[in-house]
């Protein structure tokens, strides 16, 4: 289309990147935050007790069992999620009996107080959308039906996949550029930043984009599915690709559940290390109840040894056939595991965060590159830069700096909205989107660099202030969480502080580039200059008259 193949690919790379760049920035930031969704939720529920990791697991299982048996009698499923490196509280979840014709019932979660043996739920938790909703926006957006969101997200992801592939194709010196980072200003500087962020993490960028599409494989390739297999074949197909363990039949005869802590003792025979992650009870208090112990994944896809099954009636170990997985199913599962990173140890999780931020930086620098490249020509226009250029610049400022501020406002809302407020969780999200909308509009009234600088200043302030806000509004500030080494809770405050400082540093760097004339916020127009000239001439004329 544009001369050589490589030139065409460059053109395509530029435009597919620009068209969906802002939504991709949104997806990358929310997705990166999603790697720490449990930790964020924990911070957003400050009423929870600090930590329960020091208590023996069999005691925690006793507490949970006691609570569930007393309070949740008619459930389809119970879950006990044990304290772990990501969430130091003991949690129980349950699923109510599904309504007629539905597969799943309503899910509820409670955090248990481990200080009492009876296990009381902590009931004064504030209503919050939490880290989970922030993460859900990553693929489900907000304010629209989920199917619409999936298609929008799919379209953006597809264009990103094309951008990744074309980027590799037109890039001549992929390895030498890896080692040449020229810390220069302007076009070359941004180009180098874009190259380094892209090239160093290219396997991740490819994996995350491709696996993102695979999540909704059936939704996106619906035409293929409808033509390729019949309605009756669909169940067989799903069972082969995503096999499930043989299901339990409900008997409707009451039977108290055998002790979970006894089963836990038995599990030690099979698992040398104490890595139990959660316990699931299917049809609790039923004669056919089945208990599943799951430990932390030891395999990227599926390891049958990670699961132990017990009979709920007798507490004996059951010999349940392992799921039959197929090769293509393994590939599918592998990509999804890599995308979600649920297997990740704390170290790897931090790596995910850093690469996620690099991905955000890659897209952001690409967007900035688009304007930097066109800036010299646009500035020569007699009527100033044209509409398209200004729109891109405005969206860049409003998204690259504006969206992080909006996320910070989401955390602010969590601390500042009245605890008894109705629809509180929904209003936290409204706060996020209202702030983002304002920050998208704001740059229209400012010249480019000034808007960058001012929004960066705001970002630095709102992030640095989060630990302070936490100090004012709760009794679990850094002075308490740090000595107790509650790293999840303290870590959130500290990370916010680091992000705030990073924004402050960037603001300082940007400030140096603002011309003096714009610093005083008085934009000198042609008219102003002419007026000034005439004023000066008049005064000099007057002066000469006086002397003569």
């Amino acid at each position: 289309m544009k001369g050589s193949f490589r030139q065409s690919m460059k053109w395509l790379h530029t435009w597919v990147g620009l068209v969906v760049g802002w939504i991709l920035v949104f997806m990358f930031i929310t997705g990166t935050a999603g790697y720490f969704d449990d930790e964020i939720t924990r911070w957003m529920e400050p009423e929870r007790p600090l930590t329960a990791t020091h208590i023996d697991k069999s005691k925690l299982l006793d507490i949970s069992q006691h609570y569930l048996e007393t309070h949740v009698k008619n459930a389809k499923e119970w879950r006990v999620i044990l304290p772990n490196s990501r969430d130091a509280n003991l949690k129980v979840m349950w699923q109510e009996q599904p309504e007629e014709g539905k597969r799943f019932g309503k899910f509820s979660t409670k955090v248990l107080d481990t200080d009492t043996d009876t296990g009381l739920a902590i009931d004064n938790l504030r209503e919050t959308a939490g880290g989970r909703t922030l993460y859900r926006m990553h693929y489900r957006l907000h304010y629209m039906p989920s199917i619409v969101a999936y298609w929008i997200v799919g379209f953006c992801t597809m264009l990103m996949l094309i951008a990744v592939i074309t980027g590799v194709i037109f890039h001549k010196k992929i390895f030498s550029d890896f080692f040449t980072f020229r810390a220069k200003k302007g076009l070359i500087g941004w180009l180098d930043i874009h190259n380094v962020l892209s090239v160093t993490a290219i396997p991740f960028h490819f994996m995350i984009t491709y696996s993102g599409l695979i999540f909704f494989l059936i939704t996106y390739m619906i035409l293929s599915v409808n033509i390729g297999i019949t309605e009756t074949q669909k169940d067989k197909y799903f069972n082969e690709v995503f096999p499930r363990t043989v299901e339990v039949e409900k008997s409707d005869d009451y039977q108290p559940l055998a002790s979970l802590s006894d089963m836990y003792a038995k599990s030690h025979k099979y698992w040398q290390e104490d890595t139990l992650a959660y316990v699931k009870v299917e049809y609790p208090l039923d004669k056919n109840a089945r208990v599943k112990f799951t430990r932390w994944n030891t395999d990227l896809t599926y390891n049958p040894d990670d699961e132990l099954f017990f009979s709920g009636e007798t507490g004996k170990l059951l010999n349940i056939a392992a799921k039959q997985v197929t090769m293509s199913g393994q590939i599918h599962r592998g990509f999804i595991s890599l995308h979600e990173g649920l297997f990740a140890s704390p170290m790897v999780r931090w790596l995910y965060l850093i690469i996620g931020l690099m991905g955000t930086g890659m897209i952001a620098s690409g967007l900035i590159l688009w304007t930097t490249k066109r800036k010299p020509k646009q500035m020569k226009n007699t009527n100033g830069p044209d509409f398209g250029y200004r729109l891109v610049e405005q969206l860049n400022i409003g998204t690259i700096v504006g969206f992080p501020i909006a996320v910070a406002m989401y955390f602010w809302a969590n601390r500042l909205l009245p605890v008894e407020m109705e629809n509180r969780a929904e209003w936290e999200i409204h706060c996020l989107f209202i702030s983002w909308a304002l920050l998208l509009i704001y740059p229209a009234f400012r010249s480019g660099l000034v808007a960058w600088f001012e929004q960066l200043k705001i970002a630095a302030f709102v992030f640095c202030f989060i630990p302070v806000l936490n100090f004012i509004t709760t009794d679990k500030h850094l002075g308490i969480s740090l000595p107790l080494r509650d790293w999840n809770y303290a870590g959130f405050d500290l990370v916010m502080l680091v992000i705030g400082v990073a924004f402050a540093f960037t603001a300082y760097k940007v400030k140096k580039h603002i011309p003096v004339a714009q610093k005083s916020h008085a934009k000198l127009t042609k008219n102003d200059i002419e007026n000034k000239v005439t004023d000066e001439t008049i005064s000099t004329l007057a002066a000469t008259k006086e002397t003569s």
């Binding site: 690919m9 395509l12 390739m221 293929s224």
Partner: protein, 108 residues
């Protein structure tokens, strides 16, 4: 007469504008590309049927469809004219359909 001239001017003005050809290519990439992803996945499903089993073969076809979609879209923007892009994708679609049909006869 007058009408004819203005219509001609109109068509000349709008349809010689290179933006229309870019738009045409975008449409080709999105829709003909999606069709290509679909037909190629069905083709792969039939091609691998004997060796992998029905459902796995079909699943592999689906997994690869996104890569084929990207290649198709990139190809649309690399050829010299939009007409070539449409022509190429449509004929590729037809070829895949024909091959799928042939393989279905062999497999059944």
């Amino acid at each position: 007469m007058f009408n004819l001239i203005t219509t001609r001017k109109f068509t000349k003005f709008y349809f010689t504008n290179p933006r229309w050809w870019v738009f045409s290519r975008v449409m080709a990439a999105i829709f003909a590309g999606y069709a290509l992803a679909t037909t190629s996945s069905l083709f792969l499903g039939q091609l691998l049927l004997q060796s992998m089993g029905e459902y796995q073969a079909f699943h592999i076809g689906l997994l690869l469809s996104f890569l084929i979609y990207s290649c198709g879209a990139m190809w649309v923007f690399s050829v010299s004219t939009a007409k070539k892009a449409w022509g190429g994708l449509i004929s590729l679609n037809l070829i895949f359909m024909a091959l799928t049909w042939l393989l279905m006869q062999v497999n059944s």
